[in-house]
Amino acid sequence: MKRRLWVLWLVLVWVLVACGGVKPVAKPNFDQGVGKLVIITGAGATFPYPLYSKWFYVYSKVVDPLVRFNYQSIGSGGGIRQIMARTVDFGASDAILSEEEKAAAPDLQMFPTVAGGVVVAYHLVDAQGQEVGTGLRLTPDALADIFLGHITRWNDPRIQDVNPDIALPDAPISVAHRSDGSGTTFLFTHYLAQVSPEWREKVGGGKAVNWPVGIGGKGNEGVAGILQQQPNSIGYVELAYAVQNQMAYAFIQNREGNFVEPTVDSITAASDAYAAEMPEDMGQLLVNAPGKDSYPIAGYTFILLYKDMPNCIKARKIHDFMVWALTEGDVYARSLLYAPLGASVEKMVIERLDALTCQGGRPVK
């Protein structure tokens, strides 16, 4: 009994000392100017996470060793919520801010960093039993009607006619979509809403929608799993995911009538071509862009910052990082299959970054 009491006292003392008594080793000093380590926190979208990780790493190592970034990929919704609650220094979102969100935080600005694409992937075996690889051509209205449930068989003339060299099988189309809310769905459904009045009426665009047909899979992995398991199926995933997992995907007909392959270049072309119509708050939906080389199902991913940042040291660091990322970070973006912004868009974003202020109006630059 006496020994047990001893142990109890020892534990109590240890807890008190660990929590209160002993002075901790020198913590990095955040707000005191040059020469101190600055930690910048951000949260949000999962789509750009691999690229942002790479950028943060290279930047901290090579360009500015006195800054550390801490990014949590909790999803676009979470990112928007956290930056609106001002618990992080920057937010990240694949979806543009809604009217509700813009009204709740009028000072929050969207800065496009890179663009990504959504590809229409499929698992298809032709009438001779051969696997159909990348390159199936689809027109926008055929695509919309497949996802609306109006086109139900693969050898429907609307698909067969634009694919004269593929013998499509007489098989039902199994449709797969995302069951979780995501930026990928946001882009895809907004694209369909733009090219199909019926889709706009019946379903609309959003991170999660009321799908007319199809099975839902959780995440890109879920959709890919369904496509792999289900013969003669079609679905949509991110470009990077499709390429890394060697999935077959379609060439979609763009506004000018060309069937465009989804690549980093065709997405950057879309960004360039649509730059003229960039709205004031830079929250542009890049889908269905004009231009003969543009891939139609593309979208920006945004970093969210306040026009007037609360901390000047951090504001300067964030500004410098973002300018570096947009200019010299391009090479890393390409290697990870993200499309860098078109040249004119890049210029616009850098100008907007230079116009940031901090702590009540002091210019950051």
Binding site: G77, K218, G222
Partner: protein
């Protein structure tokens, strides 16, 4: 303090030891904390779902539409999916579990019984996600062949009349049945083992066969325990999320056909919670949680009543 505890009936009338008073008071506190947690959970669920309750009212549990773009939400498909998938899984796992339990308790030699029991209990410790992955890549292709067969030969029956996807209600039912099997089996086995030897020997002495003994005496004697095990299994099935969401097809539809995709309350919450940004959307998802809480609560009460109505062992 002592008088309070004596009044409640925890402390005996003659106990006056300080240590005992403290100890029993502490235990009471722990128990009340548990109850308090459940009440707090319920309270928070109601609070979180209040905007949706106000906006939709009873329509929430009768509407089939789930439309995040128009902010129109109805829980009926998810409720249907949850209840149907769990009950069907129980219908499969219940008999299999019971017969396995009888085998393990009555017939298996101990060199077989111990490893078998261990393996069955091991099923309970496999993570849900692993079940989902195994189900998606191993079970679904096999199940699809079974479904195609059923569709071709019994396609007129409404249960089999739709397109055999592979992924769908049937896949979820099968995986749930496998997941809840250890719960029904282990409990049933222990309860059957606990039936007094006197009962069995009396039956055998009257000239009954082994089979008759088990069916007419052992199982009825262990009835309330077996049902308790089944209810435990049902509870697990109602709340199961990951494995189900990978196999059920995630489509808020109500359909009689077993091959069609469906949705459960837990899957719907897990899928949509992180990206739900509008207040009414979030509130609708919390209300789904409240509905699931209510369903589980009701099932547990029903289970209690069922067990109570079966009477104590030995009496009819």
């Amino acid at each position: 303090m002592e008088h309070l505890l004596q009044a409640i009936g925890i402390l005996g009338p003659t106990r006056k030891n300080r240590g005992d008073v403290l100890f029993e008071g502490f235990l009471l506190l722990m128990a009340l904390t548990l109850v308090g947690l459940v009440v707090f959970l319920f309270f928070e669920l109601v609070l979180g779902s209040w905007p949706a309750i106000r906006a939709f009212g009873v329509r929430f549990v009768t509407s089939r539409t789930w439309d995040p773009v128009r902010d129109e939400y109805g829980a009926l498909p998810a409720m249907y999916g949850t209840i149907v998938s769990s009950l069907l899984a129980l219908a499969v796992a219940g008999p299999v579990g019971l017969f396995s339990a009888v085998f393990l308790a009555e017939f298996a030699p101990s060199w077989l019984e111990r490893p078998l029991s261990f393996l069955i209990e091991l099923l309970a410790s496999i993570p849900s996600v692993v079940y989902g992955l195994w189900g998606l890549f191993v079970m679904v292709p096999l199940l699809r062949q079974v479904e195609v067969f059923l569709h071709q030969h019994a396609g007129d029956v409404p249960l089999f009349s739709c397109m055999p996807w592979g992924i769908g209600m049937l896949a979820a039912v099968v995986i749930l049945a496998i997941m809840i099997l250890p719960y029904s089996t282990a409990v049933a086995r222990d309860v059957i083992r606990a039936v007094p030897r006197a009962q069995r020997e009396a039956m055998l002495a009257l000239g009954a066969t082994r089979w008759e003994t088990i069916w007419h005496v052992v199982i009825p004697y262990a009835r309330s325990g077996i049902v308790g095990g089944l209810m435990l299994a049902l509870g697990r099935a109602l709340g199961e999320t990951m494995a189900v969401t990978m196999l059920i097809g995630n489509r808020p539809d109500i359909s009689l056909c077993l091959f069609n995709p469906a949705y459960t309350l837990a899957s719907q919450i897990a899928n949509e919670f992180t990206e739900a940004t509008s207040e009414i959307y979030l509130s609708a998802l919390v209300e789904l949680g409240l509905v699931l809480f209510a369903i589980t609560f009701l099932m547990n009460i029903l289970a209690r009543l069922l067990v109570l109505s079966m009477g104590t062992p030995g009496r009819r």
